[in-house]
Structure formats: C-alpha cells, structure tokens
C-alpha cells in the first residue's frame, strides 16, 4: 500500500504528461481535431435516439440525455478495459527498457478516457439546461458514483492487463463478453421498465448485480430524474472495486518483472 502511493507520487508528473501527449497525438493530424471528441458521441446519440425512439418506439423522459449518459459511461469503461488487454504489448519499447510500475500505464490511459468522459458530461450539462431538466440535491450522488466507476474500472484494468500479457486471445474473449455486457447494461433502454414488466426479479438482478448497469441507471436517476441511488449497492460496488484494485495491484507487483520476458 505504501509502495503503491509512493509509486504514484513518483510517477504522477509522467502520468499526466503522457496522458496529455496521447490526447495531443490523437488529434495532431486530423482536420477537426478535438471536435471529434464531442462530435462522435453526439452522432452516436442521434443514431441511437432515432433507432430506439422511432424504430423500436421506446419512450423515456429526456431520451437523448438518457442515452447520452449511457453511452458516455459505457465508453469510458469499455475503452479502458479493451485497451488494457494489449497494454503491455503496445508499450513494449517502454516495458523492455525501463522499469515503470505497470499500473502507471493503466492510470494514464484512464486519464485519457476520463478526459473525454468529462467533455461528454459537459455536453450532458448543456443538454440538461436546454431541456430544462429539474435538478435536486441528489445531483451530488454523482461524485461517489463516479469514484466507484473509477475504482472498479481500475481494478478490472489491472487484472485484464496482467492476463492479457500471457493469454494471446484474451482480446477475442473480451470482445464477446463486452458485447453481451453492452446489451445487458441498458445503455439505450431502462432495464427496470423494459424487463421488469414481465420479469421483475430478473430485472432486479440484472440492474443491481452488473456494476455498469447499476452505475448507469443510478447516474441517470440522480442526474435527470431527481432520484437517489440505492446506497446499499453503492457501498457494495465500491467495496468490490477496492478489492479488485487491491488484487490487481498485488498481481502486478508480483509479476510485472516477468512481462518483459514474454512480450
């Protein structure tokens, strides 16, 4: 634990700098540069809103915001995890030449994706003003919910990154699992309303025991429906996130010096 904190402190500047340079490099050669970070999720939102409100006739209050929150949070989780599978291989020149605590790479990646998520939340706020969404003090629940999202994501990233080094086809497995998870997370529908109608127990299970489903629906609740999240599950998922992170960091500390031999 002590080592973890001092490693973070030692590498914090590098972490920020490398996240910044990755963002910069991403847009360096494109015409619209950073506008893509806004444009892309906005377009996805329009597509989904059209598909589900017109084609599938779905009805939710503030449907565009509803979908946008789902996409934003899902993207953060999805991109972070799928990118950590090959993290070590992609950073081979670094890994084989200098010692860096390997979770520094994951945290740097989280900052990159976190920055994009922050932009999207800016858009969400703007949309809330345009749609005149009523807000309440429950808005503050956003903070613990986001912290939980980060902790869970970090834990999963560390673990996935470790196994990604040794298991060549993990990325194929992850792609399939995440496709499934995507549809079960309710990015473009309300689990409790849609599934709950005919299978209330199943909906409860899916909504609360899938961290992403729980987090997405809770953020929607407190952000646009003035509700409050189920605190019991918030505490549970936060604890699970911490446990995952501890396991992940422990694994990395134990095996990280072997990575250079494999890649």
């Amino acid at each position: 634990m002590k080592r973890f904190i001092s490693d973070i402190q030692d590498n914090f500047k590098y972490l920020i700098y490398s996240a910044k340079s990755e963002l910069k490099a991403e847009v360096a050669n494109s015409y619209l540069n950073w506008i893509w970070w806004v444009l892309q999720p906005l377009c996805f939102m329009l597509i989904y809103t059209f598909m589900f409100s017109v084609v599938f006739n779905a009805r939710e209050d503030y449907f565009p915001i509803f979908i946008f929150i789902g996409i934003t949070m899902w993207d953060f989780f999805n991109k972070n995890i799928t990118q950590s599978v090959k993290m070590i291989k992609r950073n081979k020149p670094i890994v084989t030449k200098v010692y860096v605590p390997k979770f520094i790479l994951t945290i740097s990646k989280m900052f990159v994706n976190g920055f994009k998520m922050a932009i999207n939340f800016g858009i969400i706020v703007a949309m809330m003003i345009v749609f005149k969404v009523p807000v309440s003090i429950n808005l503050l629940y956003l903070i613990p919910l986001m912290v939980t999202l980060w902790v869970i994501t970090f834990g999963c990233m560390c673990i996935v990154m470790h196994f990604g080094v040794f298991i060549e086809d993990l990325s194929n497995v992850i792609t399939i699992v995440f496709k499934m998870l995507f549809y079960m997370t309710g990015v473009f529908y309300d689990i409790h309303k849609r599934i709950g109608k005919s299978y209330p127990e199943l909906a409860n299970f899916m909504g609360n025991y899938n961290p992403m489903a729980y987090l997405v629906s809770s953020v929607r609740k407190c952000l646009i429906y003035t509700g409050e999240p189920d605190l019991k599950f918030l505490v549970m998922w936060f604890a699970i996130g911490i446990i995952l992170s501890v396991i992940g960091v422990k694994i990395i500390y134990k095996y990280e010096n072997g990575y250079a031999k494999v890649v």
């Binding site: 500047k13 340079s21 490099a25 200098v98 298991i167 060549e168 086809d169 497995v173």
Partner: protein
C-alpha cells in the same frame, strides 16, 4: 579477481548468484491451454546461470561473449526490467539507466515534447528535464526540426535526438548495450567523444555490452567474458580479450 585490493573502494554494483530463467518463451493461447488442461508443459531456458561479480564505483566494466550468452539479459536485469529468479542484484542506492534509444517516444508529437516524455519516463523530474532541454537540443543538432513532429524526421535525426536524451540526462550507473553508432560521421565522432567523457567521469560506473574488441580494450577497466550464461573469465582487458580472440577462432 582483485577483490582484496579493492576492499577500501566503494562498490557500486553487487551481483550474487544471479539466475534468470525464461519460462515457456511463447505466450499460450486459450485453445491450446484448454485442449491440454492436464499437462501444461513447461519449457524453461536458463539465460543466466548463477553469475556473481562486483563493480567498484567509477569503474568501467565491459561484457562480451558470443550471441545468446546472456549479456543483454543480464544488462536488463541490472536495469531493473527483469526480476532475478535466484540470487540478487544490489545497486547500493545508485540511480541507474539503460542507455536505450527512443524510450517512450510518440511519433506524432514534436521533438521537444518527446524529450520531456522520454526524460520523465527515465525517472527525471519535469524541472530537471526542462533545465537540460536546451543542452539536449543543442547536442542533437536537429535544429529547427525540434518543433516538428518526430514522424517527419529522417531516421538519422531520430536516433541523434534519442541518443542525445540519454547522453545528457546522466545517472550514477549507466548501462550501454552495444556502443551506439548513430548519425553521420560527424555525429558519430561527437557521440563517441561524449560517451568517452561520460564514462571517464570518476563517479560514474558504467557497464558496456559490446562485440567490438577495439572499443572494449580502449574504454574498459575490466572485461567480463560470458559464455552460455556463465562467466568464462573476468579480469584485465588485455588478458581476457586475448583469450576470447583465441576462443572465437
């Protein structure tokens, strides 16, 4: 070995019974491991087999040996990239860097940004790299290209910049894998001079891995000859290199 004579001298690197093993050199795929659940075959390869030596502070140690004798593996272990499987390495609190070209470069960024990135990755503080940045740019001689993306560089410019970073940002112990020959004749001369002045600094301990016998005999105080993961001979450059030449015939 003249360990007794050097007893009052400070030791910079201690390596004791160092062993490094590569376990199954290939990563495995899920299918393979599912089909062969019963018996996971373990192919191991011992790259370094119980090596011990010490390097006094300020000395220059040259390591030579034929390909695949474990030289580079050991160098990386010294740099802290590999963990030893047995034995230990003690650097007595000295900072160490593997003179590696272009660590952490991002080709879409400018040379200036890459200097910062690479320097910070090597463990230097942002302020320190910033204070050295002009010296690095000056030494590299890439001139106005420094503010252009590295992807537009010629390969010579790229290696010149990369070499300059590691040459200017100094550490107590420097590990050099193959004496670097980059750039044109002029830069080669310049970098060789720089290397010489770097490693002749009294406080700096240097480990060089090389096949070039002339470089080794010119620069090193001690030569370590490795053969198939073991020390074949260690001692005076003249003596060891002579034996090595004989052996390789």
């Amino acid at each position: 070995m003249n360990m007794e004579e050097n007893e009052n001298q400070e030791i910079a690197i201690t390596v004791k019974d160092l062993k490094i093993v590569y376990r199954s050199l290939k990563t495995y795929s899920l299918k393979k491991s599912l089909l062969r659940l019963k018996k996971v075959e373990k192919q191991t390869f011992e790259a370094v087999k119980g090596v011990s030596f010490e390097v006094p502070k300020g000395q220059i140690l040259g390591i030579t040996g034929k390909n695949g004798s474990g030289k580079s593996t050991m160098l990386r272990a010294l740099a802290g990239v590999f963990a030893p499987d047995a034995g230990y390495i003690d650097l007595h609190g000295n900072s160490v860097s593997l003179l590696a070209i272009g660590v952490g470069f991002n080709k879409a960024l400018t040379g200036r940004e890459n200097i910062m990135l690479s320097g910070m990755l090597l463990g230097f503080t942002e302020e320190f790299v910033r204070s050295k940045i002009d010296e690095i740019i000056e030494f590299s001689g890439v001139g106005k290209f420094i503010d252009m993306p590295v992807s537009t560089y010629s390969s010579g410019m790229f290696s010149k910049l990369a070499f300059s970073i590691t040459a200017i940002l100094e550490t107590d112990i420097m590990l050099i894998d193959e004496v670097l020959s980059v750039g044109d004749v002029k830069f080669k001369k310049k970098s060789y001079q720089k290397m010489k002045s770097l490693i002749s600094n009294k406080d700096r301990t240097v480990v060089i891995v090389s096949h070039s016998l002339s470089t080794l005999s010119e620069l090193c105080d001690t030569i370590l000859w490795m053969h198939e993961g073991e020390i074949k001979e260690i001692g005076e450059p003249k003596v060891v290199l002579e034996h090595y030449k004989e052996f390789m015939k």
